[in-house]
């Protein structure tokens, strides 16, 4: 069969409409939850943990200022990232160290348990809020400020905050549980997703990029639970998509020097489905490939798909193997923007980005960036040999910075 020329639609990051959304916080159609949180603190309902300084002042959907802390962050890790694609969280931690920021990686942290809740509903409002508030309390007691790695945790915690603010009965029940645990009842001043921190540090990363990424085309999948749940509290920027879509991920990738190409099904979810990814993957595979990867390939022919949530990386990456077997037009590596950014500023593709946990072939991407994948793999194999022989117990931070 002769190779086919795939048509390119060179849209850049200009959406089809040329309209720019004018942000006007004074006329925002929704309530500023942070004000309500502070009002409840004044009434003695809970303690508010302030965002540590220095912070970055980002704009949310309707133009409100959101404080994004640079450091003294308590990392609320993600089950799926840490369990199955650990280069995702490793890259976030590595970028903190690379920029010299103080952070805390806690063991006194549970999952938000929202993956299970959205998959099986085997929980309830009080339990879900208690899990969130227990984690917030644990962060507060360390003096570090929570930053949330998972898009679903972030979205779910925004929902929990909304419910706790508006439902005093729920607040009372949850406070009773937290008090029973002997912990303080604390709500953070802001709920911050790590991709917002990435947005805040994008300028600092730009000056440290070690590769020319101008030939790299990326497509961005914005994560549903990041910006569809409690939609007002997500980062938007008039310079990115005219302020009509979230600026998370896209702004960072552009700042690193890569090209972000648009595609028509950007609003569609990834097909993760929570229950489906675990026990009904025919749906996930079909949706992830037919509505996302194939459309991206057809319209933008990207070198990489970049996103900012656990489930999206998993669904979009892992679904491609079986679909490829059917001869369909897939085969695009999928990474988080934290991994892509780490690579851009010189992180090792296996020691830090841990790409060997991903399924779809990422080596053509590395090669195009200018990274020798074979040499890097040999280096990583040497590390593994040292661990196996006992001359090194673990791969340490000192050896990857």
């Amino acid at each position: 069969m002769n190779p086919m020329e795939i048509p390119m639609v060179g849209r850049g990051t200009q959406p089809e409409t040329t309209r720019t959304f004018i942000q006007d916080p004074d006329n925002a159609p929704d309530e500023d939850m942070r004000e309500a949180v502070q009002a409840l603190a004044r009434e003695g309902e809970w303690i508010v943990q302030p965002v540590p300084e220095p912070y970055y002042a980002a704009r949310t959907k309707y133009g409100r200022v959101k404080k994004i802390p640079f450091e003294k962050t308590w990392h609320h890790k993600s089950c799926g990232q840490c369990g199955h694609i650990p280069g995702y969280s490793t890259s976030i931690f590595w970028l903190n160290r690379f920029l010299g920021y103080d952070y805390f990686d806690p063991r006194d942290q549970t999952s938000c348990t929202a993956w299970n809740y959205y998959a099986s509903a085997t929980s309830n409002q009080v339990a879900q809020a208690a899990v969130a508030m227990r984690n917030f309390s644990a962060a507060y007691e360390t003096g570090y400020f929570p930053i949330i790695h998972c898009g679903t945790s972030f979205g779910h915690y925004k929902e929990v905050r909304h419910e706790l603010v508006h439902n005093h009965d729920l607040r009372r029940k949850v406070r009773e549980v937290i008090t029973k645990l002997g912990r303080p009842f604390v709500m953070p001043e802001e709920l911050v997703h790590y991709s917002e921190w990435m947005y805040a540090i994008r300028d600092q990363l730009k000056s440290r990029v070690v590769y020319d990424l101008s030939d790299i085309t990326a497509t961005v999948h914005p994560a549903c639970h990041y910006y569809k749940l409690q939609s007002g509290d997500a980062i938007y920027d008039p310079e990115i998509y005219g302020g009509q879509r979230t600026a998370a991920v896209t702004s960072v990738v552009q700042e690193l020097g890569a090209r972000v190409a648009d595609y028509s099904t950007w609003y569609d979810c990834c097909g993760f489905g929570f229950r489906h990814i675990l026990v009904q993957r025919d749906f996930t595979r079909s949706f992830a490939t037919m509505r996302k990867i194939e459309v991206m390939k057809e319209e933008a022919n990207p070198d990489v798909v970049l996103t900012h949530d656990t489930g999206c990386v998993t669904a979009l990456d892992k679904s491609q193997f079986a679909t490829q077997a059917h001869g369909r037009k897939v085969g695009v590596p999928v990474l988080s923007e934290s991994q892509f950014a780490a690579l851009a500023v010189g992180a090792h593709p296996y020691r830090v980005a841990q790409l060997h946990w991903h399924s779809t072939d990422y080596r053509p991407l590395l090669s195009k960036i200018g990274i020798d994948a074979e040499k890097a793999w040999t280096e990583f194999q040497e590390d593994l040999a040292q661990i196996e022989q006992g001359s090194m117990e673990y791969l340490s931070w000192e050896s990857v910075l």
Partner: protein, 228 residues
């Protein structure tokens, strides 16, 4: 359209479930009416691959169509992806949220269709509720994810070694996503017990409930944690 899918179930039983959904504290925030515009359906991933419609969910609840509601409780709600793309609704409805409530009621009442929908999923419930993390590295096994290709086998074969080649100290685990302190785990068990979540599990799978209760009770007792 009238439903007659479940004529053998008494109307009072269907009404009782409907009332439980309607009396959930979130219900009034999630349903304001329906323009029948279909925007939620256009945005819905599940609507593309299943005979499923978030619009019908909202309409059925708004009309209090008890027969159709019961049909949806059994045949529709587990198709939802819970992505909340339907929040694009111009009427500010939250069909995905309504489905979350319907699912909770379905679990609480031990509906047979719910047990069937979650049959392969119960090992995950055990994992999240007893370890505090939803998925673990050692779940990446070839027989569990055959469609993910040979890379899963590669991970499984080198799992212990590859986990030790991760710089973050908390990730040196295979049975958990990250290392969780014992006290943290006990606090999580306390939350499940105090909030009635364990009782929900008994409606879904009594055997699973008994195992989890034993694990949690033993751990709490050993550490002198009292849950009253």
């Amino acid at each position: 359209m009238l439903s007659n899918q479940y004529p053998e179930v008494p109307l009072e039983d269907k009404q009782r479930l409907f009332d439980q959904v309607k009396h959930d504290q979130r219900f009034d925030d999630y349903l304001y009416g329906c323009y029948e515009c279909g925007i939620c359906v256009a945005a819905c991933p599940s609507a593309r691959f299943y005979d499923f419609s978030p619009r019908k969910i909202a309409q059925t609840l708004a009309r209090e169509d008890i027969e159709m509601f019961y049909e949806q409780m059994n045949d529709d709600i587990w198709n939802c992806s819970q992505c909340f793309s339907c929040l694009r609704c111009p009427r500010q409805n939250n069909p995905g949220g309504l489905i979350t409530i319907m699912r909770e009621v379905a679990v609480n009442n031990g509906l047979r269709s719910t047990k069937e929908a979650l049959a392969g999923y119960t090992r995950i419930i055990y994992k999240i509720m007893t370890t505090g993390t939803q998925v673990s590295p050692d779940m990446l096994q070839e027989d569990a994810f055959p469609d993910w290709g040979p890379q899963v086998k590669e991970v499984a074969q080198h799992l212990d070694l590859w986990r030790r080649a991760l710089p973050p100290e908390t990730l040196h685990t295979t049975g958990l996503s990250w290392q969780v302190e014992e006290r943290t785990m006990l606090e999580l068990y306390t939350i499940w017990k105090l909030t009635g979540v364990l009782n929900m599990i008994s409606e879904l799978d009594e055997g699973l409930h008994d195992i989890m209760e034993e694990v949690m009770d033993d751990a709490l007792e050993d550490q002198g944690f009292s849950v009253v």
